[in-house]
């Protein structure tokens, strides 16, 4: 799973759903150097019952390249033993999965911080756009970027690792 310098990682951008358990086992099963596994799963919320579906548009090629760029930064910054990032596109109904980040490490802080970091950058730097289709509206509405997500991403400019 690793070369001489940094840990390899897996990045996938796909329409189909993912299997958190199967992806976790790829990183951890049979290994005895993994002390911490953090999984982040992002799901489509129904917004109090008003949402019919989210439509996720992406820029093929650039999406994979951007996610891989941040994955590379993560494996250079934290001592991970494994890293997998999967982001879906297409129409996603409430309750379904959107995004998965799994970071494994010998120690918990690296796994927590790397997955937190990656989610902040997926929110603000990966070329995906969400359109909300509400039950009561014929036209979908593009979700606006949030200032709080930019603020979250900016946290990582300073040295945060211990």
């Amino acid at each position: 799973m690793s070369n001489s310098t940094t840990t390899e990682f897996t990045v996938r951008v796909q329409a189909e759903d993912f299997d958190v358990l199967a992806e976790t086992e790829i990183l951890a099963k049979g290994r005895k150097d993994v002390g911490a596994i953090v999984t982040f799963t992002g799901l489509c919320r129904d917004e109090g019952g008003t949402l019919e579906a989210l439509e996720l548009e992406h820029y093929p090629g650039m999406a994979e390249a951007q996610i891989s760029k941040f994955a590379q930064q993560a494996v250079e910054r934290w001592p991970l033993t494994g890293l997998t990032i999967i982001h879906r596109f297409g129409k996603i109904p409430p309750g379904d999965n959107i995004v998965l980040v799994i970071a494994t490490s010998s120690h918990r802080r690296a796994a927590f911080e790397a997955s937190d970091f990656l989610m902040d950058f997926l929110k603000t730097q990966a070329p995906f756009w969400k359109k909300e289709h509400l039950k009561e509206a014929s036209e979908g509405t593009w979700v606006e970027a949030k200032a709080v997500d930019d603020a979250d991403a900016a946290r990582w400019d300073e040295q945060k690792t211990k």
């Binding site: 992002g42 820029y59 982001h87 603000t124 995906f128 969400k130 593009w142 997500d149």
Partner: protein, 83 residues
């Protein structure tokens, strides 16, 4: 030069991608937005607030003052909302 539009830029221009000949007067990505906005009402609507639009050249984020050669893939899109 290939140009791609995403999200509401795609909807407003009515175009997901197109190939254009870069005019000699257009040097930068920012100038390309101004030139595109002059094409028709849909393009004018798409580029009415160029400061909110993100630009990628060959799939890398760039600023408005990025100088174009005419052979790149240029993409215009709103701030990203993934994750």
């Amino acid at each position: 030069m290939k140009i791609r539009y995403f999200a509401w830029l795609r909807e407003r221009t009515g175009t997901s991608e197109e190939t254009i000949e870069l005019p000699e007067t257009v040097k930068t990505a920012g100038e390309l937005m101004i030139w595109l906005a002059a094409r028709d009402e849909g393009y004018a609507f798409a580029f009415e607030q160029p400061e909110t639009i993100r630009i990628a050249v060959n799939q890398e984020h760039v600023e408005e003052d990025h100088v174009l050669s005419g052979t790149e893939e240029v993409a215009f899109f709103p701030p990203m909302t993934g994750g």
